[in-house]
């Protein structure tokens, strides 16, 4: 019995060490791919300019300022798009010999995917920081105190962690980097644009409006707007997820993590055996 406990303790310790080693490895890799990092910063920054100024001048949000409305949306958007990098990186890993090397080592089964997801989480932090700086530069401000602003950022990070797991999942099943890119780009693009990220869904045609209201991304963005004290726009009646955006975001993120992470671990350890 006590021997058994020692054994599992050792396993847990090794498992944590392995996850740390894997995270470390992916972080080193990340710093060597500055073009990828730059790309994931550049696109949201372009959005700030494009929507904040080019299209934004003709977009009106009832009861508020457009850039105050837009910035939380762009934070969520940049997080959503970062899943693309994870998916491509995992798919690339899986098609290279490195995976064979890992499989012949005495590594905990879950370490590699956990490392991948944690490292993408860490690499996402500077991207969000750049977005915040951009926001501040164009006049966006958190308007409901520092405490709530920090809660908003934590919520976004949790959402990013969950989305990262979806990226890992796509990377594992795609069977190639290009396939992974396509598989993940289309839904992120649709979810990002058919939502309240850029415009008030009230102005959309009826069928699109229903999708935009119930789109979980809209809930995440609304949660952010609420916590930052930014412009939210008119609330639709009877959309639960928008009435309880913080609970929806929390629940959604937790469900994704709890369901997808074990699937990823299984897929990784059973692939090619």
């Amino acid at each position: 019995m006590s021997e058994m406990t020692v054994h599992t303790q050792g396993q847990l310790r090794n498992g944590l060490l392995d996850a740390y080693t894997a995270t470390r490895r992916f972080l080193i890799r990340g710093t060597r791919q500055l073009d990828v990092v730059l790309g994931s910063v550049l696109i949201p920054v372009i959005f700030v300019v494009l929507f904040g100024y080019v299209f934004g001048s003709s977009i009106r949000i009832p009861g508020g300022n457009y850039r105050s409305y837009l910035m939380p949306g762009l934070f969520a958007m940049s997080i959503l798009f970062s899943s693309n990098n994870v998916a491509v990186a995992v798919a690339t890993d899986m098609s290279e010999g490195v995976v064979d090397r890992f499989r012949t080592l005495p590594i905990a089964r879950s370490a590699i995917v956990i490392g991948r997801s944690l490292s993408s989480f860490v690499l996402g932090i500077p991207v969000l920081a750049v977005m915040i700086l951009c926001g501040l530069a164009v006049g966006w401000r958190p308007e409901d105190g520092l405490g709530n602003a920090i809660l908003a950022l934590l919520l976004f990070e949790l959402f990013g962690f969950a989305i990262g797991w979806l990226g890992v999942l796509v990377g594992l099943v795609a069977g190639g980097a290009q396939a992974a890119d396509v598989i993940i780009s289309i839904p992120t693009f649709l979810l990002g644009f058919i939502s309240s990220v850029f415009v008030d869904p009230a102005l959309m045609p009826a069928w699109l409006r229903v999708i935009a209201y119930w789109n979980p991304v809209s809930a995440v963005v609304t949660a952010g707007r609420q916590l930052f004290g930014n412009t939210i726009g008119p609330a639709p009646a009877g959309v639960w997820s928008l009435d309880h955006p913080i609970a929806t975001t929390l629940g959604l993120a937790l469900i994704i993590i709890v369901v997808v992470a074990p699937i990823c671990v299984r897929l990784y350890s059973h692939s090619e055996r």
Binding site: R32, G97, V98, D100, F102
Partner: protein
Amino acid sequence: MSAPAISASHLARSFGTTHALVDVSLDVEAGTVCALLGRNGAGKTTTVRILTTLLRANAGHARVAGFDVTEQAPQVRTRIGVTGQTATMDELLTGAENLETIGRFCHLGAANSRRRAAALLEQFDLTAAARQLVKNYSGGMRRRLDLAASLIHDPEVLFLDEPTTGLDPVSRAEMWTSIRTLVAGGTTVLLTTQYLDEADRLADTIVVVDRGLVVAEGTPEQLKASIGRAFIRVTLPEADPATLEKVRRLLGEEAEVSGRSVSAPAPHGLTTLEEVVGQLREQGVTVHEVGLEHPSLDEVFSTVTDHSGHPNVPATSTAGKA
């Protein structure tokens, strides 16, 4: 006698309709080198992948370092080192970072991993390139780094899938030296190769696989002896059927005609050669060449893997047969 370090019995593995392994059994004694020899697609890599826990067999079982490769994969993994046929180093990490990461994954600890990495880089003449990204390494450097990586935790059993393919002659000789040094230190090695001289020089035992089956095995000497009689070959200036028939009758019952030459076993070596030359002269046969041939490992290889009418496997250049 202690249990063999590697013991595989009746391994089989198919990929869809491709029967990569049909029935492969082999035993490798601890501290010896076994060479798995076979043409392209014979099933060498598949065998190595099963023994290194990368692939499940459809049938049969195998033990490595005393543990079952399917049931006890974690125990096997702590005791083996693997250098696969394709590179497994991370291109975006330096040589040192790659080795250190693998050391940490083997639970050597950070400091120890760094020390082992430095020592191995030194041993494989990679110290100068230690801080370079692997994507800037040459093929030979990658191969050496891969081997270094599989040694970081001092494995009991080492698997090398075509360790010298793509190396220049000097690097090849160095690789042989490294392997011999390891074996002298007690490591068991299973290597695959397409080079017969490599198997002949390095291996204590050779297992020849062909289309997923073991077709011959033994020490290099045993294999040579198994078809080991000398042959006499008489080559005529041209393929004239009447003369060929005359020579064939002269050489006895086991004589075989191929092209413009006739060959037959020469049980008494030079004596047989002298007799035959004398008889040919008596009968007034003009010959292009007469000679005695000893079987080489090449011939053993082509004999055991030769399927007349085999459609899709091109003979390797070393195994080519006239």
